[in-house]
């Protein structure tokens, strides 16, 4: 017999959310600090497009970025769904919000993979 609990998507979604939360906590602050603040402000030098492209061409860099970004998108989607429902008191249309958030994460996942596979 299939129960409502066994049909729940929550365990899989929480796995994506938890892994994403872990990766975001460890790696996003340094990326924002360097690429988003210190380099644009001129505190640290910009390595330049050619050197960053050489780094990006390395398979390990692409795997790292792929894993980090894909899990970050699913982490954000999971939390955004609950934030919209809680902050705007919209739990009654939870199913619609789930589909919008997870569809966004799915599109972002495809975009990430396509972009990283096509780095030449």
């Amino acid at each position: 017999m299939t129960t409502a609990h066994s049909r729940s998507h929550r365990p899989l979604a929480w796995l994506l959310f938890g892994t994403g939360g872990f990766l975001v906590a460890f790696f996003f602050p340094i990326h924002i600090l360097l690429s988003g603040l210190l380099q644009p402000l001129g505190v640290l030098p910009d390595p330049g497009q050619a050197r960053l492209l050489a780094l990006l061409r390395h398979p390990i860099t692409r795997i790292y970025l792929g894993v980090l970004l894909v899990f970050a998108f699913w982490h954000a989607a999971y939390r955004l769904r609950d934030t919209i429902c809680d902050a705007l008191s919209l739990r009654q249309i939870d199913l619609v919000i789930v589909w919008i958030c997870y569809a966004g994460a799915a599109v972002a996942t495809v975009a990430t993979v396509v972009l990283l596979v096509n780095v030449r």
């Binding site: 340094i30 360097l34 988003g36 644009p40 910009d46 970004l69 954000a76 955004l80 972009l115």
Partner: protein, 136 residues
């Protein structure tokens, strides 16, 4: 069998305003942590655009860098950094309460469980920074 309905008890459902999280600091802190997802999604998209710009050649990368120098983007990045760092700190505080107890079957002091997290955070940040700044 007659149905009794005159004074049928109803389940208690407290009324919540859409701004319930402004009532207490703890609620607001919870909501700030939840809102970090917006900034995570924002900077993940920025990183995608950065990858697209790097792989698109010097001109496209120069446009990306010009865009990153925009003061509004810098302010948005600063807010993103603060909110995501807050997410990181709360995440590291969560680990001792859940993960360590699950693994060891008993709890240890929060500080003892958090220190390895902060050490790993520092090492991970140094390694990523070294690669981005091309120190290796």
């Amino acid at each position: 069998m007659p149905q009794y309905s005159t004074f049928q008890p109803k389940s208690y459902r407290p009324r919540m305003t859409p701004y319930w999280y402004l009532e207490r600091w703890h609620y607001l802190r919870f909501m700030v942590r939840e809102l970090s997802c917006v900034f995570v999604a924002y900077f993940a998209v920025v990183m995608l655009v950065q990858i697209w710009a790097i792989s698109g050649g010097a001109t496209r990368y120069a446009h990306f860098q010009t865009w990153m120098h925009n003061p509004r983007i810098l302010i948005l990045n600063a807010i993103s950094f603060l909110v995501i760092a807050f997410h990181a700190v709360t995440w590291f505080a969560l680990v001792p309460r859940v993960f360590v107890r699950h693994l060891l079957g008993s709890g240890i002091r929060d500080s003892a469980a958090m220190i390895p997290n902060y050490a790993a955070w520092f090492v991970a940040s140094v390694i990523v920074a070294a690669f981005i700044l091309r120190l290796f």
